[in-house]
Amino acid sequence: MLKSGVKLVSIICVLAVLLSGCSRLADVRLRLVVHAIGVDIDEEGVYSVSYQVFSSNPPEGGGPVDANKGNVMTYMTYGRTLYEAQKSLELQTGKEVFTGDVELIVLGLGMVGRDVSQVLSYFWSDTDIYMGVNAVFSSGLASDIIGVQLEQGTATTELLNQMIISSVANGTTIPARLIEISNCFEEPGASIVMPVLTAKEADNSKGKEDSDVYDMATGVFENMLIVNKIPTVYVTRDETKGISILTGGKKKYSLTFVADGQRISAGADLSRVSRRIRIDDSGNPVLSVDIRGELTVLDNPTLVDNDIINEAAREDIIRLCREAYDKTVSSYGADVLEIGKLLRKHCNKYYETVKDDISQAIRKTSCEVSVSLKIYENE
């Protein structure tokens, strides 16, 4: 019995040594738990990195941290590399930086025209950071987004993410998570759309001159088109909606359009988006997108006829698709519609001949869209 016990204890001890990762316990006050990271760059290539971190200072008199109060802090460091900036943060605070809780990565507008893969690869190579983290652009400095003060205490990053999720639900943005960006950047002619977060000071202080909390008009109001890993041009919410429809990325959209001179609000459930690609007689690719779904009329005050609404909705969807195609494929040869992947899968011989200059092939790709909707009146 004693012998078995000794054996058991020995085994446990051996395993305990193996689990040495768990032995590095550190007081939470000695750890800097980062929630969001913002990266700005100046003309000389120096990074200004802002970190939104959890402030674990307990309330006066002790007790647990109150989640409803402002428990986030923002630090700003500088460096020639992101690693240098992070080391600088550790030196500045005397704490060990923990990036395992990062929920958002924000790139400043200074990144426009620069290869963002050099910055983002730093984050996806960090095995602590979850690969589903959203990466976004800021309409100004990334530090403006990281330092934004919202009323709900510690949940600032969660609220920012919630804003992205809401925009995704409306179809006005497409989430760009680290894993998707990493995968996209490995493809020839890598192009992707990233949400742009805006934080503008709103004029609704209601006379509270000394208030620390100032309301910001914060949200995703536009998107950034990344072409060949370089942020190139803004994409409107309608154009983004068109991209989302053309790629079948989402099923439900809210539409507002004019039918018979009346403004109609409807929900579209585009459950079947079938995409085919072929090479036409002139040797250029043609992308055919067949969209089928259901339309639920939500607001039709003057009782416009269903057939007219159906036609107007079809035209609106085709308009969104055309705008998306014109802005991305036609103007910039940006492969946000996954034309390269479709060619590689379905027209492999053609793909092999053009893969070295895929942007040209994408630019030459024409797009046919057919929309078929069944209409349901909201009772």
Binding site: V14, L19, M131, G132, S182, N183, E186
Partner: protein, 351 residues
């Protein structure tokens, strides 16, 4: 010290074989190697080839355990030499497992103890397994296999990624090189054949179900992993390098996101069990020597041997390692059992 090697069932043998294969998959680094449909097709071919290669073993062990070396050469010099080959081969395999595990730990869990410390502790634990005997190791292996299966299913089930069917590219003639490359790589990791041959003497019953179960399980586990990698993770595997580890890196539950400790725990347990089995094979291949120096001493010698070979093979060329592995599989996993089948049949005919 009394010998603790009790015979094991075909189910327990299956557990040890599949754990060894899983260990190899766990520490397989994709590097520039791209997982996709050509590789999935290659696995179909290698499974067929492995099935054919296993026929001598199935014929030899169909009615229960026997020792192919004894059948061929009794206890003569040839037997000592062949046993030495088995012993050296599995010390080499053990050293390779330790080396790749050390690289894995260094790359992914760099905040843990130094790789050498981890290797020494793992080897000590493995030597203890070898000392306890194959039956105890197989019993512990059953628990580890369950733990692994739960982890694998949980990681796959909670993956946040969406299936991207465009990643399932058609296989063309251009992929022939890739298919051949993977097929040869996969076949060079089929040391389950010499493993089964060397442990034949410890089998209680027939081996047909063990081989069938192993080949089907290996095929399903690897194809599932490759399908998930292709559909969900795609190029991202190149970032982490380890396909099975990458599977957990994109899980939507916080529990699995913080999977490092859980994975490390199961990885380590598996490493101990698998290396314990390799050391056991090496130690028992000492034959008479093992009985003279004792079970504990022979296990310790095997463990030291594995670490020494690990240190010696640090700068070993991949090509040389590949030739050693493949030669061992053919010689010790196919030719020796085949020779034993022929000798056994001749003796039966003479009687």
């Amino acid at each position: 010290m009394e010998e603790k090697n009790i015979k094991i069932s075909s189910g327990q043998m299956y557990v040890l074989l599949i754990l060894a294969r899983i260990m190899h998959t766990m520490i397989f680094h994709a590097k520039e190697f791209k997982i996709g449909t050509p590789v999935m097709l290659a696995l179909v071919f290698t499974t067929i080839i492995e099935s054919v290669m296993s026929i001598p073993l199935i014929l030899l062990l169909k009615d229960g355990g026997c020792d192919p070396v004894s059948i061929i050469a009794g206890n003569g010099r040839l037997a000592v030499f062949v046993r030495f080959l088995y012993s050296a081969y599995f010390l080499f395999i053990s050293a390779g497992t330790l080396m790749y595990f050390a690289q894995f730990m260094k790359a992914e869990f760099n905040k843990t103890a130094t790789p050498m410390a981890v290797i020494i502790v793992l080897t000590l634990a493995a030597a203890y397994c070898a000392y306890l005997g194959i039956e105890g190791t197989a019993r512990a292996g059953t628990i580890v296999l369950w733990a692994f299966m739960v982890l694998f299913v949980v990681m796959a089930a909670v993956s946040e990624g969406e299936f991207e069917r465009l990643n399932l590219l058609p296989v063309t003639l251009k992929d022939t090189d890739k298919i051949l490359d993977y097929a040869v790589r996969d076949l060079s990791s089929s040391w389950w054949l010499p493993m089964l041959a060397s442990m034949g003497a410890y089998l209680k019953n027939g081996v047909g179900k063990t081989v069938g179960g192993y080949l089907i399980s290996k095929f399903l586990i690897l194809e599932t992993l490759m399908l998930l990698v292709t559909l969900v993770l795609w190029n991202f595997v190149g970032v982490l390098g380890y396909p099975m580890l990458a599977l957990g890196a994109y899980a939507k539950t916080v529990f699995i996101q913080r999977f490092d400790a859980i994975n490390m725990f199961v990885w380590c347990l598996n490493c101990v069990i698998v290396n314990g089995t390799y050391l056991f094979i090496s130690a028992q291949s000492f034959g008479e020597g093992r009985r003279k120096i004792g079970v504990a001493a022979s296990s310790a010698v095997a463990a030291i041997g594995a670490v020494v070979i690990f240190l010696m093979s640090l700068g070993l060329n991949d090509g040389v390692a590949f030739v050693i592995k493949l030669s061992g599989i053919v010689l010790l996993g196919v030719i020796v059992p085949l020779a034993a089948v022929i000798v056994k049949k001749k003796r039966a005919n003479q009687e």
